[in-house]
Symmetry: C2
Subunit: 110 residues, 2 copies
Amino acid sequence: MSEDERLPQPATADIDLVTLLHALGDPVRMTLLLSYADGREHSCGPRDLGLDHLHKSTVSHHMRVLREAGVTTTRVAGRNRFVSLRRTDLDARFPGLLDALLAAASTPLR
Amino acid sequence: MSEDERLPQPATADIDLVTLLHALGDPVRMTLLLSYADGREHSCGPRDLGLDHLHKSTVSHHMRVLREAGVTTTRVAGRNRFVSLRRTDLDARFPGLLDALLAAASTPLR
DNA sequence: GCAACAGTTTTACGTTCGTCAAACATTCGG
DNA sequence: CCGAATGTTTGACGAACGTAAAACTGTTGC
């Protein structure tokens, strides 16, 4: 059996700002966010994300933090998990915040 | 002698997004940010900030984190230190981010 | 001068965090 | 069925964090 399912995640209304900022206040997870900013689904391997230097369990840990903070959603399909940004939910919960964060993250030192 | 001086803080261009988010990803520091959002200067005592439950050294520690992240600036005047938000600098470095954060922080659970 | 004041620094301590390694599911392909 | 593939979970470890207490620095007022 392999119906699509989603890993546990907070409801939109339960997304907490401090928890979200704490989740994003880490270089690895900020890198993940930028990868997810394309709106597509990504699988979980370190190879897909320019994180070859990290162990797969470490990446798994970071993705759990992002998911539990409400940043991402994870769809289970077979032996793959597809992670994507909860853009609609985040925009509903904190209007303008995600856009500002992504814009800020794309700003080099100038 | 007591010319006004400012405690060390990063230049606007050196404000790092991840460092900033990490600084704000703590409940106490988020509370401080909201206090500073009025644009005025605040002294450092826990009493001024609804942080009576925290030791003054703890508050001092949190204010240092905020200052070193580029969130606040501290003006030294006599035996008082006046802390205020670096709104102009933050807006220049990350346009729209501070407003989005403050708006988000003011959003209750709804 | 000296005592009170406003904060910082230092030290200490328990907790959380980031990381890896190894063990553990679960699923797909032969 | 068996082995490879894809992640997760658990356990361990050092580093960083949040907090408080005590010692310290500099300032104001008497």
